[in-house]
């Protein structure tokens, strides 16, 4: 891998079984990503954005081709290796927030650190920092049902960022948010990207997101139609 490259994708294809045959969700994908990118995978619904993000995030595996994500290749990706990779190095943000409703904001953000077996004091500091980044210090004791959509997504960002991962994958993070909240969370992520050099990869078809991206990869029917540096 080239210096600074953290992800390479070679000749990737993904098929899903369908009826008697198979459905090809992705094909002929060749891409590299470098540390510190703020990149979007853009395209209409069904173009394969989520599939690609899931393969990068080791939630799914390629049917053909190979990936190397933060030094782990798709060939060696057992469920255990994949879990470790996600636990240590990857943060996820979803359209539907996916917060655990019985836990407080603080506890939701703390969870990734419990999996990493961090000490109490390390956890406390990291959780408070992460909650501060997203501006929810006054809500630490609230539970998800008491939060607005924008607040929930900010908690999800704090949860993804709390372990300071190298890579954050955000799948349609603004789909359920209004304009004001969308801009708010994007500015937050942009700032974290600059301050912590965290690599962000989005899957989106939302113009509000696209205007923040520095690199835009366009998918059409499961193949890369264009890959360009955004003119800002």
């Amino acid at each position: 891998m080239k210096n600074g490259t953290i992800i390479t994708i070679e000749n990737l294809a993904k098929h899903y079984p369908m009826g008697g045959g198979k459905f090809t969700a992705l094909s002929d994908i060749n891409l590299t990503f470098s540390k510190g990118e703020f990149t979007g995978i853009v395209g209409p619904s069904g173009s394969g954005k989520t599939t690609m993000l899931n393969i990068i995030g080791s939630l799914d595996t390629p049917s053909e081709g190979a990936t190397n994500v933060l030094g782990t290749t798709s060939r060696e990706m057992t469920p255990k290796v994949a879990a470790t990779l996600r636990k240590k190095h990857i943060g996820f943000i979803f359209q539907t927030y996916n917060l655990m409703s019985v836990y407080t904001v603080y506890e939701n953000v703390e969870f990734p650190l419990l999996l990493l077996k961090k000490s109490v004091s390390e956890r406390k500091k990291a959780v408070m920092d992460a909650i501060q980044w997203v501006g929810l210090t006054d809500k630490i004791k609230s539970k998800p049902p008491q939060l607005s959509g924008g607040e929930s997504q900010r908690v999800a960002i704090a949860r993804a960022m709390v372990k300071r991962p190298e890579l954050v994958l955000a799948d349609e993070p603004t789909a359920n948010l209004d304009a004001k909240n969308s801009h708010h969370i994007l500015r937050t992520m942009e700032q974290l990207n600059r301050e912590l050099q965290t690599t962000f990869i989005f899957a989106t078809h939302d113009d509000k997101v696209i205007q923040y991206l520095r690199r835009i990869i366009t998918l059409e029917d499961g193949t890369v139609a264009s890959d360009e540096i955004a003119k800002q």
């Binding site: 989520t50 899931n54 995030g57 939630l59 799914d60 469920p79 255990k80 879990a83 470790t84 990779l85 996600r86 636990k87 240590k88 990857i90 996820f92 979803f94 359209q95 539907t96 996916n98 655990m100 019985v102 836990y103 506890e107 703390e110 969870f111 990734p112 419990l114 999996l115 949860r159 799948d171």
Partner: protein, 423 residues
């Protein structure tokens, strides 16, 4: 981490409260059922020992083999010296002689002609000795309806119903027509001293109680007796103890070649108690098995419902990097805590209700049971078994149910779980 899981468990009522209630109810019922069955069984054993079998019983071998027919022609003979030797050999035991007798009971009119007649069966016991424990053992005082307990050899107690049928009152004469030990006809007059309620239909139809000395004379059974009942000093029937006691006795006194030599049978060996005792154990096994299976199924299903609700959470936890096996283990840990809570509460409830049943709810006080010879009280009895008979199955059922439900999740493809994240 454990604390984190438990926090979630306690806050999610649907996940904790419902299963705990289910387990609690199940465990309570098992403990209660066990105490009740044990209590009833205990009562039956006590009852049998007192009225029919003793803890052990000595008969002639031939009598034992034909014991269904009250074969007094096969009675033990030379019993007064035999009793003396029993008492000196086993002084700690209590020995009592009894004769089962049957015959026609005839109520004459003032001319001595038969006015009413009916078949009866009776028990001859020692009612007249100062130190006889039989009156108390048979609960005679309380069971008397009219009149009094016999005070001389030729007085007899009839069941109230039998007396009604024969239209006799305490003080009236009746004639017992029976056969002697040697097969001759025996006709003896008795004075009805009182009437009694036995508490079982068969005996209340034609039951009698008389003093053994009178019956001996009537049936020509001098120095003979049908049965010698032995009671252990503890007052409790202990089957292994009784079995080894009987084996030692038979080794010493019994001669298989001589059908008139004495043989000792334990309570368990007599009548159908042996099968009954086994049956009770068998039923307990079935109750516990049914309980475990039924509870597991209920908890499996509630676990599946809970899991459906939690697919999102599972997918998320895996996305954050928790391994499937770890999640599965956390579900089992949750189940252990639910099972422990339900089993502890259920066992406490079960013991509490059992103890109420063991003393408080003695229905005999309200009903006329207490005045019967054979009290029909259904009392619960708490044995050490009660402390774990519900507890462990409760715990096992919870873990099993969760393991089955969790297995479904575990088998579910990872990608499908992640799909939930995008829903």
């Amino acid at each position: 981490m454990l604390k984190f899981y438990l926090k979630g468990l306690f806050r999610d009522r649907a996940r904790s409260l419902l299963p705990v209630i289910v387990v609690t109810i199940g465990v309570t019922l098992v403990v209660l059922a066990n105490s009740w069955v044990t209590g009833v069984l205990e009562d039956m054993v006590v009852f049998n020992a007192r009225f029919a079998t003793g803890h052990v019983k000595i008969m002639s071998q031939a009598y034992y083999e034909n014991r269904g027919q009250q074969p007094n022609d096969l009675a033990l003979v030379g019993t007064s010296s035999f009793m003396d030797s029993l008492e000196s050999q086993y002084p700690e035991m209590e020995w009592v002689e009894r004769i089962q007798f049957g015959g026609l009971v005839d109520a004459p009119d003032e001319n001595g002609e038969t006015r009413a007649q009916g078949p009866g069966g009776g028990m001859a016991v020692d009612l007249l000795s100062e130190d006889s424990g039989e009156i108390e053992r048979l609960n005679l005082e309380k069971a008397m309806v009219r009149g009094r307990i016999p005070q001389s050899p030729f007085e007899i107690i009839l069941s109230e119903q039998f007396a009604d049928k024969l239209e006799v009152e305490p003080g009236d004469q009746v004639t017992l027509i029976s056969s002697t030990m040697y097969g001759a006809m025996s006709i003896t007059n008795f004075t009805v001293s009182g009437t009694i309620t036995f508490g079982t239909a068969a005996l209340d139809r034609g039951g009698m109680v008389a003093d053994i000395s009178g019956i001996r004379q009537a049936l020509d059974m001098t120095d003979a007796t049908g049965e010698i009942l032995g009671y252990f000093p503890s007052g409790e029937y202990d089957d292994p103890e009784a079995a080894s006691f009987a084996a030692a006795f038979n080794e010493k006194y019994s001669n298989p070649q001589d059908e008139f030599s004495p043989v000792m049978a334990t309570l368990r060996e007599q009548s159908n108690m042996a099968g009954f005792l086994d049956l009770i154990d068998y039923f307990k096994g079935i109750i516990v098995t049914i309980f475990v299976v039924a509870m597991s199924i209920v908890l499996w299903n509630s676990g599946l419902l809970g899991a459906l609700r939690r697919y999102g959470e599972m997918g998320l936890r895996m996305a954050i990097g928790e391994e499937k096996g770890h999640i599965y283990r956390s579900l089992i840990i949750e189940a252990v805590f639910i099972g422990l809570a339900g089993s502890v509460i259920g066992t406490l409830f079960g013991l509490f209700f059992s103890s109420l049943m063991a003393r408080g709810i003695d229905i005999s006080g309200m009903m006329q049971n207490s005045t019967m010879m054979m009290q029909g009280v259904m009392k619960a009895k708490i044995t050490p078994l009660a402390y774990y008979i519900g507890f462990f199955p409760g715990l096992i059922a919870t873990v099993l149910g969760t393991a089955l439900a969790g297995f479904g999740i575990y088998k579910r493809q990872t990608a499908k779980l992640f799909k939930e994240l995008q829903a």
